[in-house]
Symmetry: C2
């Protein structure tokens, strides 16, 4: 079934907000065998009408986000009803729930708020657990030539639960049984896109009926396969044979998820000492639920004094080799390991920029150390002459991958 | 001038990648008086043709991203040339630069790579500093009825520098002198959207010619004004009078930027002790260039033992009040302050969830402390019963805002 997404919102077209709806909806509907054929963003106001009108005869399902709220610009409901020739009817049950919500939060009710209780005739109301404007579903009407239409709220925290609770069950009922087409994603760290393609590209391209996609991000590559199960099995065998240990996830999980999972399974603990990554490595680890069981301590030691007092680093080491050096990275990791009595410790020291580079150690130079109880500490030197956020991502990717390989 | 953005890429429509191009381009072109009227996402392949064709007569400028690379799906160049009836010509200068790039990186050259040196007749080549596929610009042609067309690479790290170096100068030459319409954004922390609207909404709505927009994100609100300078001045006076100290940025900067700027100006230093935010507060501070001059030390003390050894917290305090308590938050901030000999210290302790909540202290409970040399420590208790990432954002927003208010 041909699916079109229409996102409304002046803030999207002014660049004030990233459009996360497209990616969210795409991932939610793929398991039903649905793919988005086209997505359009239009500003609040009358452009919504054109976008819906031109989609009516080229979609089987139209999903519209935004423009259901109380302000004067929110006219998706009215425009859709007008376009389809449907009357708006005031729904007392919605009004009641809006009133209850307002009372609980101490809001005054205005006429604008009351508009959110208007429903085009024949529409199904989709409850909103996190806001006052409900979503609306209009079933396809072959006589009047319109497809299935969903009107959904703009704020992600309202859209996401409504989509999962109310939209997916309706889609499951109207989408024909699955075609048998599935997808698998292999997430790969520590290899460049060209190396990945060289390792598997030629063999995979020979498999008929396999759709293959690469997506490279800083420090990782997603390899995306779409096809029938037997074809996916055939491709997966090749990928596992050629890339085995480089695959860190097949369920969409991040590298930090894989690391926390391995630490948890092996009942191992971690300490972290960060200079140039400034807390980002600890942040990534602690984004994973359950991280508290494996992360004992994190140190952000920007200053040399902090390196000394927090990690016990000999000041002469810093004088002799510089704060950004193999020796200091090693001492940071070992200091964190001993201080927290952990099984493993990761440390980073480098020059994130934009200032602080020298000829010998230009901006982007970084040392990453992995200390393990009873084993020699490993230090890797890398060069990431990128912007500050990318530098932090690449450095933490390298650190996490060093630990993942150690734990495998 | 009517501007349309067409983003191509199957990965966007599968939800593998967030579309960041729209927001980037929107922000870059606004100062020229350009706003994006419409944006369309289509998959790699022939759908690109329809998207371009239907935009030819409703845009003055079309910006197309993606599909210029070496793989079989990359056909934007060919489709555009075909649609406009232009021949593709092999450009030896581009080929030379592709060869140099490949040699430096040890790539083999394939026929597919060579296609990137094909240029539609009459097109201007836009150099790519970070990839092999150059961008292309086709000037508007009134006889043949096509608008200005820009073909740009998909990867952000190739697109961004090319846009700033090559696209903006061309746009400046073709866009009529500015209309006098400008925009101002006021970023506000510590107040809910309804309070902001109540404080200023009615007065601002009375100003004719003012376009007003709100955008609420966790822990902050952007207030967006668009209009002529005199109108913006009038609105700004009202906003400053009513919301003055709550405004942390008018240049798009984040709360952490404001905090690091104030610390730097006042020559003050900071230490951080984090439990539930797990390094995210230090990460936000160290995202700001120059943070190394103000951040002395950060501690991530998930475990009670780490709280004791790293921050010197009396274990009896934890037994008596619990790790998530006002007393422990205070002791963490004071321990970090003294340990680093800093002017200020921030501390967080709370229950991020999903596990770990109790009836007395449910998931979302958090205490945030601000210690300052020679002054009484302040502790705020908050309740953020949200998902883990939102909990971290809201907690660090509160911490940063406490410090910003202290520094004002």
């Amino acid at each position: 079934m041909r699916t079109i997404v229409i996102n409304t919102g002046t803030e999207l077209l002014l660049g004030d907000v990233l459009n996360s709806h497209l990616a969210f909806i795409a991932r939610e509907i793929f398991p039903l065998g649905l793919r988005i054929e086209r997505q359009v963003t239009v500003p609040d106001g009358s452009a919504i009408r054109d976008a819906i009108a031109e989609s009516l005869d080229r979609a089987d399902i139209i999903l519209i986000t935004g423009g259901l709220g109380p302000t004067t610009d929110d006219i998706t409901r009215e425009i859709t009803a007008d376009l389809l020739g449907l009357k708006l009817q005031h729904d007392p049950a919605i009004m009641k729930s809006i009133e209850t919500r307002a009372a609980r939060r101490g809001f005054r009710l205005t006429d604008r708020v009351a508009r959110q209780a208007d429903v085009p005739e024949g529409a199904t109301v989709l409850p909103n657990e996190h806001g006052s404007a409900p979503g609306l579903y209009l079933a396809a009407n072959q006589t009047k030539k319109w497809p299935h239409l969903f009107l959904l709220p703009g704020p992600p925290r309202e859209l996401h639960p409504m989509f999962q609770t109310s939209v997916l069950p309706i889609l499951r009922a109207i989408v024909p049984p699955e075609s048998g087409i599935g997808r698998r994603t292999f997430r790969i760290a520590g290899l460049g896109e060209s190396l990945v393609e060289e390792a598997i590209g030629a063999q995979l391209l020979e498999i008929p009926g396999l759709e293959l996609g690469y997506c490279a991000r800083p420090g990782e590559i997603d390899l995306r396969l779409i096809g029938e199960a037997s074809i996916l099995d055939q491709a997966e065998r090749i990928i596992r044979e050629k890339l085995g240990p480089a695959i860190f996830s097949t369920d969409g999980g991040d590298l930090e998820d894989a690391v926390v999972k391995l630490l948890t399974e092996r009942r191992k603990t971690l300490a972290i000492a960060e200079s140039c990554t400034g807390g980002y490595l600890a942040h990534r680890i602690t984004n994973v639920p359950g991280a508290s069981a494996v992360l004992l301590a994190g140190h952000v030691t920007y200053s040399n004094q902090a390196k000394r007092t927090m990690l016990g680093i000999d000041p002469r080491l810093i004088v002799e080799h510089g704060a950004v050096s193999e020796k200091v990275a090693q001492a940071m990791a070992e200091g964190a390991l001993v201080g927290a009595n952990a099984d493993f410790a990761l440390a980073t020291t480098g020059i994130a920029g934009p200032g602080g580079g020298t000829e010998e150690k230009p901006v982007g130079t970084v040392f990453i150390a992995l200390a393990a109880r009873g084993r020699a500490t490993k230090v890797e030197k890398r060069f990431f002459p990128d912007d500050r956020p990318t530098f932090k991502v690449l450095t933490t990717q390298t650190a996490l991958e060093m630990l993942r390989r150690e734990l495998m």
